[in-house]
């Protein structure tokens, strides 16, 4: 690679090294806790496999 390209690559990687982990952690932090399963509903019943 030529020096300008190496410089561009280095700058891109520095930006990504800051932004990507931040976005990744923010995305994980924004996760909603899954709704608890309703014990009175049986999937098999809904699918018609159970009387």
């Amino acid at each position: 690679m030529t020096q300008p390209l190496r410089k561009l690559h280095r700058r891109v990687m520095i930006v990504l090294a800051v932004l990507l982990p931040a976005a990744f952690v923010a995305g994980l932090a924004a996760r909603k806790s899954p709704a608890p399963a309703n014990p009175r509903i049986h999937r098999e019943t809904l699918l018609g496999n159970r009387p």
């Binding site: 690679m1 020096q3 690559h9 280095r10 990504l16 982990p21 990744f24 995305g27 994980l28 999937r43």
Partner: protein
């Protein structure tokens, strides 16, 4: 190295490389779908395929992005670089399969155009947890398409290596979009921490490898030698240059490869005309400097590829004074023949 365009210039190494790749991908897809069906018996085959193609593409992208810096840090990884573009096209194909199955599964059954539906079916663009992550994947897929479509040497030759390289640096944008696509998509509904850990480890690996390689390169660039009043730069003891190999020196902002072969030295640009590979990390084979990336060859005294090839790189004047190799900072036009400087201890020779 080829004098005319072919769809693929097959050779033994490429066949082995591509066979290994095909077997690896098929094995991964079969294992993922098989184990997925056992662990999630209620999952549909479409869902399993969407996940299998998506994870295979993401895994392959991490491998692709790691190859470049690994080669900069350790020469033993160079064979992986040789056919990296085939990895890229395979990764695009897997991504396309993932995208097509996902669009058919989630966007094709309404009264809106499926491609429009990706952007309008969910418009919560301000919410992280409910972000329409498919739009990020679609944008990444478009970039990967452009890269796969221009991956052939035809485009490399016609766009020129610097433009082609800059175009293909869009892979980092695609990678960022895909990490966001996975984080705001699959990871939002995934209850097991395993997937988040794998993505996190992959991200950390790619970023640290690239940063380590980038700063190693920077150290070489920063050690830029200054020319004397006659324009020459002292490189090293000529006898220290390994036989049929080079010492690379940073001169006037660019790198020069000073090769020793027999009792002579010659200097050419360190940048291969093909993809900008580091010629100084190659060696002289059959009398030609051979690029370690894809085997492009140049005569050390003229910088010309041997006939019938037409590639040329700039050459530099060289001299040996008291056993020290010197190179003139100013490059000569590509293909200019320069008489090699003989290595004779204690004798001043200049060309």
């Amino acid at each position: 190295m080829s004098v005319q365009y072919q769809a693929i210039g097959w050779n033994r190494q490429k066949r082995i490389y591509d066979s290994t790749l095909a077997v690896g991908v098929l094995l991964y897809l079969a294992l993922f779908a098989g184990i997925g069906a056992l662990v999630h018996p209620n999952a549909t085959i479409e869902t399993l395929l969407i996940r299998a193609f998506g994870t295979a593409a993401l895994l392959l992208l991490h491998v692709i992005l790691s190859i470049g810096p690994l080669c900069r840090l350790d020469r033993r990884f160079l064979p992986l670089l040789y056919n990296r573009r085939h990895l890229g096209v395979t990764m695009f194909t897997l991504s396309l399969a993932h995208g097509v199955f996902a669009i058919v599964q989630f966007h094709a059954l309404g009264d809106v155009n499926p491609l429009v539906s990706i952007f309008v079916s969910n418009t919560r663009y301000t919410s992280l947890a409910d972000f329409p992550f498919q739009s990020l994947g679609f944008a990444a897929l478009l970039i990967l398409f452009v890269m796969a479509a221009t991956s052939h040497d035809f485009w490399l030759h016609n766009l020129s290596a610097p433009v082609w390289k800059r175009l293909h640096m869009l892979v980092y944008v695609a990678y960022a979009l895909l990490i966001a696509h996975v984080t705001l998509g699959a990871l939002q509904s995934e209850t097991s921490p395993l997937l988040a850990m794998i993505v996190g480890i992959g991200l950390a690996t790619v970023l640290s490898l690239h940063l380590a390689a980038a700063f190693r390169e920077r150290r070489v660039d920063d050690a830029c030698a200054t020319a004397g009043r006659d324009g020459f730069v002292e490189v090293c003891d000529a006898a220290e240059i390994p036989e049929n190999r080079a010492v690379v020196v940073s001169v006037a902002g660019e790198r020069v490869a000073v090769f020793r072969y027999g009792d002579r030295i010659s200097a050419i640009s360190n940048v291969c005309r093909h993809q900008g590979g580091p010629l100084g990390e190659g060696r002289i084979i059959d009398g030609c400097v051979t690029c370690p990336w894809h085997g492009y060859q140049y005569l050390p005294d003229s910088g010309c590829s041997p006939p019938p090839f037409t590639e040329k790189v700039p050459t530099y004047r060289v001299r040996v004074i008291d056993g020290k190799a010197h190179v003139r900072a100013c490059p000569l036009p590509p293909g200019t023949r320069v008489e090699p400087a003989p290595i004779r201890q204690g004798e001043r020779t200049q060309v």
